[in-house]
């Protein structure tokens, strides 16, 4: 299981991995906060997209720029940038999502001091032809900005390579997710979380063979997790930066078998068509993939998706996992809860900041919830 070990090592200490990328491969590293980052373009420009998920440090420098009622992802990301923890980044790409990230982009551009900064002002609604046209224009603009920032030309060949690379990465991640859903004994939820995290930061050319190896080993019958019988739970929310959640939940008698998270299915779902104009093909994936709540598809798209996901993945329950102060997710919560309630799927809301609630508190909540699933 060397592949899994390598992936987990990268995810366990992402900044150590990130700092070594350029020396190892000569590739520049591009920071980002979002699954709407047009990673295919970054890879086509010969760089490595590097997902930022907040800090492990106490917030002090970011306090001079951001109020306490801003989420830990935004405050933590800025903290790491200002502390110099991200000095391995050549720059950052900020896709437009929520109000907080929008302002973080300004503050980052004015204070963080990286060589380049690219704003990608994506459409907010994704359900009209004119939004699609605009999306394609924005992609073309982002491509030009990346070319200028990284001093390369993104040729059609490079684009095709990046697209097929991403299709393979995303497809393989989907395979592994489905394998775990079918048999949680193949890989633990905590390990799969690390695989996802690694997939968002590693040199994608290095990543892909590792994912292939892992998938093939699991397919060949390798069991890397104890085949515990437990209730099946799906997570729904923004980012998960707390691997402990998976293990604590397991100890309470439930398994995370699927999710609707930025650090999960929203990262890998959807393939890019390979036989049409590349920029349009990339745009098509971003507008058809399940949305983040900062985007608009229809007023019930996320609710229907969540109920369907629970059904297809045979989830006994759903845990909403939100970062405190995340407006888009909090606004959707009452209606998503109602959709699940109406469908008879038990659910709870867990709001977290940079730190998890105490272990005992979390256990009590999970145990009560797991009892509801029986």
């Amino acid at each position: 299981m060397d592949a899994l070990k390598t992936l987990k090592a990268a995810a366990a200490d992402p900044y150590v991995y990130g700092a070594a990328i350029q020396a190892k491969s000569g590739k520049k590293v591009v920071g980002n906060f979002c699954t709407y980052t047009l990673e295919e373009l970054i890879v086509a420009a010969g760089a490595v997209p590097f997902r930022l998920c907040g800090t492990k440090e106490d917030i002090s420098l970011a306090d001079k720029h951001l109020q306490s009622y801003c989420c830990s992802l935004v405050r933590g990301g800025l903290e790491d940038a200002l502390r110099g923890n991200l000095s391995f980044l050549a720059g950052a790409v900020f896709p437009h999502t929520c109000d907080s990230i929008q302002r973080l982009s300004d503050i980052w551009r004015l204070n963080a001091g990286f060589p380049f900064h690219i704003d990608v002002v994506l459409p907010v609604k994704l359900d009209t032809p004119s939004a699609r046209t605009y999306m394609i224009d924005v992609l073309a603009g982002c491509k030009a900005d990346l070319e200028a920032a990284l001093g390369v030309q993104i040729t059609p060949e490079r684009l095709h390579h990046a697209i097929s690379l991403y299709n393979d990465i995303r497809g393989t991640l989907g395979d592994i997710y489905r394998m775990r859903s079918a048999d949680p004994g193949v890989i633990s939820a905590g390990d799969l979380y690390h695989v996802l995290k690694a997939s968002m930061i590693m040199d994608r050319d290095e990543l892909l063979p590792l994912l292939h190896t892992l998938r093939d080993e699991l397919k060949a019958g390798a069991k890397t997790a104890p085949s515990t019988v437990g209730r099946r739970v799906a997570l729904s929310g923004g980012i998960c930066n707390h691997p402990d959640i998976y293990t604590i939940l397991e100890e309470c008698g439930a398994q995370v078998i699927w999710d609707d998270l930025c650090t999960g299915t929203r990262y890998f779902e959807g393939q890019i068509e390979e036989n049409i104009v590349p920029i349009e093909a990339i745009a098509n994936r971003y507008i058809t993939r399940m949305i983040c709540p900062a985007k608009h598809l229809s007023v019930t798209a996320r609710g229907e998706n969540l109920v369907n996901l629970a059904k297809v993945q045979k989830a006994d329950g759903v845990i909403f996992l939100f970062l405190k102060f995340c407006d888009p997710h909090s606004f959707d919560y009452p209606y998503l809860k109602k959709f699940l309630d109406d469908a008879g799927v038990p659910n709870i809301l867990l709001e977290v900041e940079a730190q998890l609630p105490s272990d005992a508190q979390l256990r009590t909540r999970f145990e009560t919830f797991v009892d509801m699933l029986k």
């Binding site: 109020q67 009622y69 929008q102 459409p123 900062a294 608009h296 007023v299 888009p328 909090s330």
Partner: protein, 412 residues
């Protein structure tokens, strides 16, 4: 805090703005018309405060503004109860208090006017925040009515040609949406007529605000918060034009008669962010007691800030571009340019920033703006942590101490 005087003080009476009663009358009539629209065979649309209402007026649809409703809830100090109701419904306390209190009113028919009239459809322009998108999705599900979203790309550095094309295209989609909802064709000539009235209203509103550049100022930002209501709710109508004509005249007369709003105006301050609606009087009195006058603000001038971008003879192609450029839909450095102009125009001595828990796009970045103002203009900033509607986030003793300390440093 509470008004101590029982007998009318002639000096205070002289300072009162006489147009206030007219304004109240207009707003009452407006809400009665909106609440009886259905009986009169008219359609009602809910629209965001920064949305292009001109098309609704041209279609004879009655526009209703949940944000104005939120402000009324705040000013009538009914925010806490309604916010708590929304929290019971599952909406986090960290969400916008306009949205929370308005959503609660939809369910309870509560609040100062017993809830807003039910919408026939919704028009959401996200030039002011991402919150309105979520808020209008909630309303669209609750009332089960169509939602039109006018998506105005944020301006970090510049408004791109792609963005221009996108918003113009959406303007035509908006018209088609309205034609479908109303079952009749848009009168295109009428759009430009309404746009002319809107621009005329905006210019007059700006003239009203400009009178506060006079020393001493005939009005304060707190007065602007109140008189703003028509530029939000009746923009594009003759009523707003007539009213602001009257108000400008009154302000000019006050200047001539030497009537200032703050009796001994000595310090001039600029306000940033939405008002603290339930404490406007307290804050106004507090600053007055230091002989300080809030002569201008970034909020009420946000509407008129875009009027020069509107071509009244071609509103369809320029309206949405102008609306995309509002103060809050631009980056901190572009905001700073506007802030500099306001500081110079009103010749202020200090900046008062309301760090408003409800409004992240307005509040996040204030610390940086304050630093820029200090660095470049050598003007100090006071930051007040509060919320526009939810009084639970207002700590009077803490804010009082901060204001006193800030004024002491200004008095130097």
């Amino acid at each position: 805090m509470a008004d101590q005087s029982t007998a009318k003080d002639p000096e205070k009476e002289r300072r009162k703005i006489k147009s206030v009663s007219k304004m109240k009358e207009i707003m009452t009539t407006y809400y009665i018309e909106a609440k009886t629209a259905r009986e009169n065979g008219k359609k009602v649309a809910w629209i965001t405060s920064g949305g292009p209402v001109e098309f609704l007026i041209a279609m004879d649809v009655i526009p209703v503004y949940p944000e104005n409703h939120g402000a009324m809830i705040g000013a009538s100090k009914m925010g806490v109860g309604l916010c708590e109701k929304a929290e019971e419904m599952g909406y986090s306390r960290d969400l916008c208090s306009y949205a929370r209190s308005d959503i609660a009113c939809s369910v309870t028919d509560g609040g100062p006017i017993g809830g807003l009239p039910r919408p026939d459809f919704l028009v959401c322009c996200n030039n002011i925040c991402g919150t309105v998108l979520k808020w209008y999705e909630v309303a669209a599900r609750f009332y089960n009515v169509p939602l039109f979203i006018l998506d105005t790309p944020f301006i970090h550095t510049q408004f791109s040609e792609a963005s221009r094309k996108y918003v113009v295209q959406q303007t035509y989609e908006y018209i088609a949406f309205l034609e479908k909802q109303c079952g009749r064709k848009m009168n295109f000539e009428r759009i430009n007529e309404v746009a002319r009235l809107a621009v005329q209203g905006l210019r007059l509103w700006q003239e009203v605000l400009d009178t506060a550049a006079h020393k001493p100022a005939p009005m304060t930002a707190f007065d602007a918060f109140f008189h703003l209501a028509l530029i939000v709710t009746l923009r594009g109508t003759q009523i707003a034009v007539d009213y602001y004509q009257q108000l400008v005249a009154e302000m000019r007369q006050r200047i001539q008669d030497g009537i200032s709003m703050v009796p001994n105006e000595k310090y001039r301050l600029l306000w940033d962010n939405l008002p603290v609606w339930y404490r406007t009087k307290w804050l106004s009195d507090k600053f007055s007691s230091h002989n300080a006058c809030l002569v201008g603000d970034t909020y009420t001038s946000a509407w008129s800030g875009i009027m020069d971008l509107i071509d009244e003879n071609n509103f369809i192609e320029t309206g949405a571009v102008a609306y995309s450029s509002v103060y809050i839909n631009v980056s901190l450095d572009i905001m700073f340019e506007t802030l500099k102009k306001l500081i110079k125009k009103y010749d202020v001595d200090g900046l008062v920033m309301h760090s408003n828990r409800s409004c992240k796009p307005y509040s996040l970045g204030q610390y940086d703006l304050g630093q820029m103002v200090m660095r470049e203009l050598k003007i100090p900033t006071l930051i007040i942590e509060a919320d526009m509607v939810d009084e639970r986030s207002f700590s009077e003793s803490q804010i009082e101490t901060r204001i006193d300390a800030f004024m002491e440093t200004l008095k130097g």
